[in-house]
């Protein structure tokens, strides 16, 4: 799909990328305790005795977290393991109160799956690439350390400690920063459709560990580095860009890539080695003896499957094939679940009010939404989530255009007033007297006046100056204050000019 290579001094290098995305599971309570998960609480106020790893405290898993991980797995067509188990990953750090993270190594909840990415939505070929997902497992998040509050101390806040995460591990299937970016965006879209993660990267609900290696095209994988906790699509791409170039330079200078953990610095766009975490990685994974194997029955799995919404790829195909929405529009409108929901409400109202099938109005609706409303909202610094125009009011406006009550240019005016006032389209048209004039008598009279006032131009037109037709239309519309039905104006002009 893309042929991204690093041009080294000694030739071309291919980049191999795998991502481990940590997605916070949408749940009210933590994975193994009843403490809340809400973002932004006062330090250590959402910490139970279990999360603080007090002596004798024990974990009990949250059904919702398991359910959401299973649904996510189903959404990427993955194998769901009805028998899985939690393991302990042992290491010491101040943000890890138990001295181990409860995770899943040997028997993850979700096995192999995949998702399809599209690099360029405007590409008429619409080329997709399938990216493999190795596994999804459920694990505990760690707490947070603050280093800038005290000269000699770091502060530990355990509010996040024990919040459920899904670790979604891709196969090393990506070959460019653009593919990795598309993968993260697509994954985020799916998570938000499923409702298993809010995808909020600013609040840390989604972050990625970026594995990068380079190789000569066709050769074995090179040694990879892992850059931890990268928290935006842009930074993921920047990390890859930097790491790939760094590694190529290193190898070409006769050096060797060291398998290590690195940290991305957003200020400089570079990565650096995290030596503090390098000492003897030996996590001593073993099954958590405080927990039994997790066995999911058919009823649970069926309920998970039944609760899945229409997923973005399916929705997009339906928009294109059943509703006749242009491919690019379909791609944009399905990229965010909220946009799709908005569009579908708009469509429902527009079709109902005109008594038409959705397929008959979908193309127009998608065009209006994308070119008119998005543009107008953009100017106001708003988006659909805080749009003064609701999908129902938008549908009403589309219906008014559709049945000829107003023209397209008047509709623009109406929309502006709607955005300002939040009023309904019909109400505005009525109040402002914007109804389109289709009465042939009035239009005929206006046309007659225009022709009588411009005998020279009539002459010239009849003499072959066809492009003067637009002038007559303009003058007639002006005389009618823009409310004349353009089709009727055209017809009458043609008839009178002969």
């Amino acid at each position: 799909m893309s042929t991204y290579t690093i041009h080294g001094a000694t030739g071309e290098w291919e980049v191999v990328i795998g991502l481990e995305v940590h997605a916070q599971v949408t749940s009210k309570a933590k994975l193994f305790s009843g403490a809340a998960t809400a973002f932004g609480a006062e330090p250590n106020t959402q910490v139970s005795l279990v999360d603080a790893a007090m002596p004798g405290m024990l974990p009990v898993p949250n059904r919702e977290c398991i359910r959401q991980a299973v649904r996510t797995g189903m959404a990427i067509d993955a194998q769901i393991n009805a028998w899985s188990r939690f393991d302990r990953k042992n290491y010491f750090y101040a943000d890890l109160p138990q001295g181990y993270q409860i995770s899943q190594l040997y028997h993850p909840l979700v096995g192999e799956g995949h998702l399809d990415i599209v690099l360029d939505e405007k590409d008429p070929e619409n080329t997709t690439k399938r990216i493999g997902v190795e596994r999804i497992h459920v694990e505990q998040d760690a707490g947070k350390l603050m280093h800038d509050q005290h000269p000699t101390m770091s502060y530990v806040d355990l509010n996040r400690s024990g919040v459920a995460l899904m670790e979604i591990v891709s196969k090393p299937d990506m070959r460019s920063p653009a593919e990795a970016g598309a993968y993260v965006r697509k994954l985020r879209t799916i998570l938000r459709y499923v409702g298993s993660c809010d995808g909020n990267m600013e609040e840390g609900s989604m972050r990625a560990d970026v594995n990068v290696s380079v190789r000569r095209p066709g050769e074995e994988f090179g040694t990879r580095t892992e850059t931890k906790n990268v928290n935006s699509v842009r930074f993921v791409m920047a990390t890859i860009e930097y790491e790939a170039n760094r590694q190529v330079e290193l190898i070409e200078d006769g050096g060797k890539v060291v398998q290590e953990t690195r940290l991305f610095d957003p200020d400089t766009g570079t990565t650096r080695s995290m030596r503090s975490k390098e000492d003897a990685h030996d996590y001593r994974y073993f099954p958590d003896p405080d927990l039994l194997p997790l066995e999911l029955d058919d009823a649970f799995l069926a309920a998970c499957r039944d609760s899945l919404p229409e997923l973005p790829d399916a929705k997009r195909l339906r928009y294109e094939n059943e509703l006749g929405v242009p491919p690019y529009n379909a791609a944009v409108l399905t990229a965010e679940v909220e946009t799709a929901r908005w569009f579908e409400k708009l469509l429902t109202t527009a079709a109902e009010q005109q008594g038409k099938a959705q397929a008959d109005v979908a193309k127009q609706a998608s065009n209006w939404l994308m070119s008119e409303l998005f543009g107008a909202l953009n100017k106001l610094g708003k988006d659909l989530s805080d749009s003064p125009v609701t999908p129902e009011k938008g549908g009403e406006l589309l219906a008014l255009i559709g049945d000829g009550t107003i023209s397209g240019s008047i509709a623009k005016q109406v929309l502006e007033i709607m955005l300002e006032t939040g009023d309904g389209a019909g109400e505005i048209v009525e109040r402002e007297g914007l109804k389109q004039e289709s009465d042939t008598g009035a239009i005929e009279a206006a046309v007659d006046t225009v022709l009588a006032d411009n005998p020279d131009k009539v002459e010239a037109y009849r003499g072959g100056k066809d492009r003067l037709f637009g002038f007559f239309v303009g003058q007639t519309m002006k005389a009618m204050q823009g409310k004349a039905n353009p089709q009727v104006v055209n017809d009458i002009l043609k008839q009178k000019l002969g």
Partner: protein
């Protein structure tokens, strides 16, 4: 009237309920006994006021005609592995010195709800790791028993050595214990008392300082079988806070006690009759067989072929789990913090844990860390869990031909303090008969069977099918009735 401190759980409960005496009188008597027995070092903390408060409460309830509970008016000792709200809980380790839990373990809470009171927190092997109570950071407990004609201090067994010594010395009518690889049964045997480890999952582990999660199981230690049945009823029960807790109703074990073993088959595992077995231990086992026959049981020879591998498997699995369970003692949130000048976080961990953990705890953390480390995991840990499955399978097969199993509790009577400290392996071997049932999660109990040639108590062990505590208790009662064990240690510790 019998002295209050000579009474057991049933007798106290019934006496208080009948108004023969008050709970406060009982609490005062035991508080006094505890105060006079500091030489035994059985308690880490005494809580006489707590015992009195609970007693007053029970007396008040009785006065109002309310139910006083299964353990109404019975003051008990609490092994200092159970978190007690507002009372220091140390696991006998410096690393938890000064730790005052703001929460109460499920088991202790159930006991208080049942009308029991707390005399104090009982000494134990540090983090329940030991078989002689010599690994406690607060000094060893001394067994109230002494060999005939000797003043040499003996080990009370471990890890529940404070519990065993306190019950045997009549400092409390009963005490909680926890059993990971024999920590209830072996000290019970060493001190001539009764103790039962129920089926894994019967008693909640919530609020019990963890040693090895897949093995740890609380249980009662008391003077006889009935008292154990009563107390176990009060301790057991489903706890949604413990994922390994059994979601099953608690049987009425006391009401179900029946020493008639007609129709029951008692298995005698041939692999437990080891070469060079102590003659007195062998004899007490034979006595036990005769008593159970007399109670109506049929004796069958059984085989538990993987018995010899139980201890080595245990000494991989238990330390592995412990190495992880004890990682939380890091000086950040509670307990000891040792922060050398200029030390960073990781240095603080290492210094804190070096200063806070005792030698045996460190040794086990080291073993556990090693067997889980990269490259060794399968050879040690996975292999041990497979052998553990084979050991459980051995028992499953045995249940095809028997209902309970009879064996000695320990290979010897109480040994002198200091005897095995320098040789961890010989210490570990003391649990050779106790560990298989722990690995298989089965209920197992020790009852006194008599005295050896030195006048020291010996225990017999009954192992039952999973969930069949009743079968175990009944066989224990049958032995108890025939053993006629009434011997008591001399009260040398009362100055």
């Amino acid at each position: 009237m019998t002295e209050h401190t000579e009474m057991g759980v049933a007798q106290i409960r019934d006496g208080v309920a009948n108004g023969d005496f008050t709970a406060v009188e009982v609490a005062e008597a035991f508080n006094a006994a505890v105060a006079a027995a500091s030489d035994l070092n059985a308690f880490i903390v005494t809580t006489p006021d707590s015992a009195l408060d609970a007693a007053r409460n029970v007396d008040a309830r009785r006065a109002k005609g309310q139910d006083i509970g299964k353990m109404g008016g019975v003051p008990i000792g609490m092994k200092d592995l159970f978190a007690t709200d507002g009372t220091p809980t140390t696991a006998a380790s410096h690393i938890l010195e000064g730790f005052v839990p703001p929460y109460e373990s499920t088991v202790s809470a159930k006991l208080w709800d049942a009308g029991a009171g707390m005399l104090g927190k009982l000494n134990l092997d540090q983090f329940a790791m030991g078989s002689s109570n010599e690994t406690s950071a607060f000094g060893n407990v001394v067994n109230p028993w002494r060999a005939k004609g000797s003043d040499a201090p003996l080990a009370p067994g471990g890890s529940s050595g404070g519990s065993s010594a306190a019950v045997a010395a009549r400092l409390c009518p009963a005490a909680t214990g926890t059993d990971t690889g024999g920590s209830i049964r072996q000290p019970a045997a060493f001190t001539g008392i009764t103790g039962i480890k129920p089926t894994y999952g019967r008693c909640s582990r919530w609020g019990v300082v963890a040693f090895a999660s897949s093995l740890d199981q609380p249980g009662p230690m008391a003077r006889d079988t009935r008292d154990c049945a009563i107390m176990l009823e009060a301790m057991a029960g489903f706890d949604p806070k413990d994922s390994t807790s059994l979601d099953a109703p608690v049987p009425e074990w006391e009401a179900g006690l029946n020493p008639d073993l007609s129709g029951k088959r008692v298995g005698i595992p041939r692999e437990y009759r080891m070469d060079g077995m102590d003659a007195d231990v062998a004899k007490s086992w034979d006595d036990g067989i005769a008593w159970l026959k007399d109670a109506g049981a049929t004796i069958v020879d059984i085989s538990l072929p993987h018995t010899k591998y139980a201890l080595p498997a245990y000494y991989i699995i238990a330390p592995a789990e412990a190495s992880s369970n004890l990682a939380r003692y890091d000086g950040v949130r509670y307990g000891l913090r040792d922060l050398p000048d200029g030390a960073g976080l990781q240095d603080m961990y290492a210094a804190t844990r070096a200063a806070g953990f005792g030698k045996e705890v460190k040794r086990r953390i080291m073993i556990g860390t090693y067997v889980l480390s990269a490259g060794f995991y399968d050879a040690y840990y996975t292999q041990a869990q497979k052998v553990r499955q084979l050991i459980a399978d051995d028992f499953a097969k045995a249940w095809e031909s028997c209902d309970v199993i009879l064996a000695p509790t320990c290979p010897s009577a109480a040994f002198p303090l200091g005897d095995k400290v320098s040789d961890p392996l010989s210490m570990y071997l003391n649990d050779v008969f106790a560990v298989p049932a722990s690995l298989a999660g089965l209920p197992a109990m020790s009852v006194p069977a008599g005295l050896n040639r030195d006048g020291l108590p010996l225990g017999l062990q009954i192992i039952g099918k999973g969930f069949d505590e009743q079968g175990v208790l009944n066989a224990g009662l049958a032995i108890e009735q025939r053993a006629g064990f009434t011997a008591k240690p001399d009260t040398w510790w009362k100055a």
